[in-house]
């Protein structure tokens, strides 16, 4: 009996949370128009969410590209197809690893920081204080951060893919002796702008939206104590990872189904 009670309670609480989250999202999206009037709020957040993530994204991208170059070369050389290494590296990065790994890193680096920041602002009554000053904290605090995350993600994913392709080239042509011209020309000939690049960008836009939403909502909805904020930060990373990987599967199935 108690099992069913608990099941009911947890189902209900997750649905109410989903409801609160959706309400929050609507409110947040409505606040975006007021961010556009004050670009300085957005610039500041673009710096802390986007620019400060540059380093981790480019270093990770470089290593992922290098590993792809190595692994790809071992397999492709078995079939005598080393020349197509460029296609393999670029396609895996642009289609999958770029958007997905960037989103995961973004959730860990920027998402957790956003949740902790909003949670602490709540705990120190700053959000409540703004409300009492007749300043809507969603418009001034949440929406600029959301927009910054949403805009940064595709750019960071693009950066990740570019650096990764260079990493693959370094290993492939520099160390393993793949022909440099073949690396680039095969990539140019076989990568489709619409099918590969645009679809990758669409993925990263979706991930940017979801990750920023989760991070900000968890912060805003956190229990305003040290423990509550720490749990909310954990939930941000866990829930973002689940949503990113789950959505990636769905999007891939929809986008690349015909091939």
């Amino acid at each position: 009996m108690e099992f069913f009670q608990n099941l009911g309670a947890s189902t209900r609480s997750s649905f109410t949370k989903l409801g609160r989250g959706s309400y929050f999202l609507v409110h947040l999206l409505a606040g975006i128009s007021s961010v556009l009037v004050r670009p300085r709020l957005l610039l500041k957040q673009l710096h802390s969410v986007g620019v400060l993530s540059f380093l981790i994204i480019s270093i990770s991208g470089l290593f992922v590209g290098m590993v792809l170059g190595l692994q790809g070369f071992y397999i492709l050389s078995r079939f005598g197809a080393e020349e197509t290494l460029g296609v393999m590296v670029a396609a895996s990065l642009v289609r999958e690893l770029g958007p997905v790994v960037t989103a995961l890193l973004f959730a860990g680096r920027a998402g957790s920081a956003l949740t902790a920041e909003i949670g602490l602002m709540k705990a120190t009554e700053q959000l409540s204080g703004m409300e009492m000053m007749a300043i809507d904290p969603i418009k001034r605090i949440i929406s600029p951060r959301f927009l910054a995350g949403f805009l940064s993600m595709p750019l960071l994913a693009a950066l990740f893919s570019c650096v990764g392709i260079i990493g693959g080239q370094l290993v492939g042509t520099g160390l393993l002796g793949v022909d440099d011209g073949a690396y680039w020309s095969q990539m140019q000939a076989n990568l489709d702008f619409q099918g590969d690049i645009i679809n990758g960008v669409i993925k990263s836009i979706v991930f940017g939206f979801v990750t920023s939403w989760i991070a900000l909502f968890e912060g805003y909805d956190s229990i305003p104590t040290a423990e509550g904020v720490s749990r909310a930060t954990t939930r941000t990373v866990v829930n973002s990872a689940f949503s990113i990987l789950g959505l990636d599967f769905i999007l891939t199935a929809l986008m690349f189904g015909d091939n």
């Binding site: 009670q5 608990n6 309670a9 947890s10 609480s13 997750s14 949370k17 602002m121 120190t124 009554e125 700053q126 409540s128 204080g129 703004m130 409300e131 009492m132 000053m133 007749a134 300043i135 809507d136 001034r140």
Partner: protein, 293 residues
């Protein structure tokens, strides 16, 4: 308490307010009046929902029953824009100060002015310096909130609260955790602001003597009810044992020192569980739910 006489000139009227949090009734059908231009204090032990009352007056929480009229309008029936317009005329001093931590003292005080007015920068500067001068912190304008002591932070928050020249200020425990000098400064400041700016002040506090020194009228709350009201003198002379215990800070009296528990002897001899057991009680569903959410 039904013996209160509603006055014509009250800025906030709380009428038959009931508010509960979960199972616990925080306010049980209370009615309060806050007169314009006066300092009204709400006193009571911790956990009687004094801060909750301020949040209800500010429209941040909704009552279960009853109404709160602020300046003649029911604050919980206002539309979002009207509510925000009304809040511009209220200042609230939070216990923690609630300063925005990424801005300097100057910017914190300037913040409501920048948000709500189109004043030129020179005018904002003049206004901010005037407000900071009023709280004695003009020289601290370039400090960041983390460089301020608790008392200074609260004074900056006070300067911010009066930045838009509100009609009333809600003070949430303004004296808690202050050293005697800051406390004296704040007591003086609250009274001075009230008279010079013609404000209405609502103070929520359990610092009996400081509050009684500046309040014109006091309500004493306990367990969701108003158990005493009147001028500070009335309250100190109150026949109620409860009020006497609170005002004089006696450890035991109508309010017991001990949280309700079963017989002490019995409790010691029959421990039903090892003390350091990490198990939850079997029916504690709330904690369980929290864990998985």
């Amino acid at each position: 308490m039904d013996n209160h006489v509603p006055t014509q000139d009250s800025i906030v009227t709380v009428h038959n307010l009931t508010f509960s949090r979960g199972e616990k009734k925080i306010f049980d059908d209370i009615s309060l009046e806050f007169e314009r231009g006066k300092v009204t204090a709400i006193m009571g032990p911790s956990g009687t929902g004094k801060t909750t009352l301020l949040k209800l007056i500010g429209g941040q929480l909704f009552p279960d029953h009853g109404s709160i009229m602020v300046s003649g309008r029911n604050i919980h029936h206002l539309k979002h824009d009207d509510l925000y317009a009304l809040r511009k005329r209220m200042g609230m001093l939070f216990q923690s100060g609630a300063l925005l931590t990424d801005m300097s003292v100057f910017e914190n005080v300037a913040y409501p002015l920048r948000e709500h007015t189109q004043l030129p920068e020179s005018m904002i500067r003049t206004l901010v310096l005037m407000k900071l001068e009023a709280v004695g912190l003009r020289g601290a304008r370039n400090l960041m909130p983390n460089e301020l002591s608790g008392g200074m932070a609260r004074r900056v928050a006070l300067a911010r609260a009066i930045a838009l020249d509100p009609m009333m200020i809600l003070y949430d425990e303004p004296f808690t955790g202050q050293d005697p000098i800051s406390m004296g400064a704040l007591v003086h400041l609250i009274k001075a602001l009230n008279t010079t700016l013609g404000l209405t002040s609502i103070i929520v506090s359990h610092d009996v003597h400081e509050t009684a020194a500046i309040a014109d009228y006091i309500y004493v709350l306990s367990e969701g009810k108003v158990i005493g009201q009147g001028t500070p003198k009335d309250i100190f002379d109150s026949p109620s044992l409860w009020v006497q215990q609170f005002m004089n800070g006696a450890a035991d009296g109508p309010v017991h020192f001990h949280y309700p528990a079963k017989n002490y002897m019995e409790d010691l001899l029959h421990s039903e569980k090892p003390i350091f057991s990490r198990q939850r009680p079997p029916n504690d569903r709330t904690t369980k739910r929290k864990r998985y959410s």
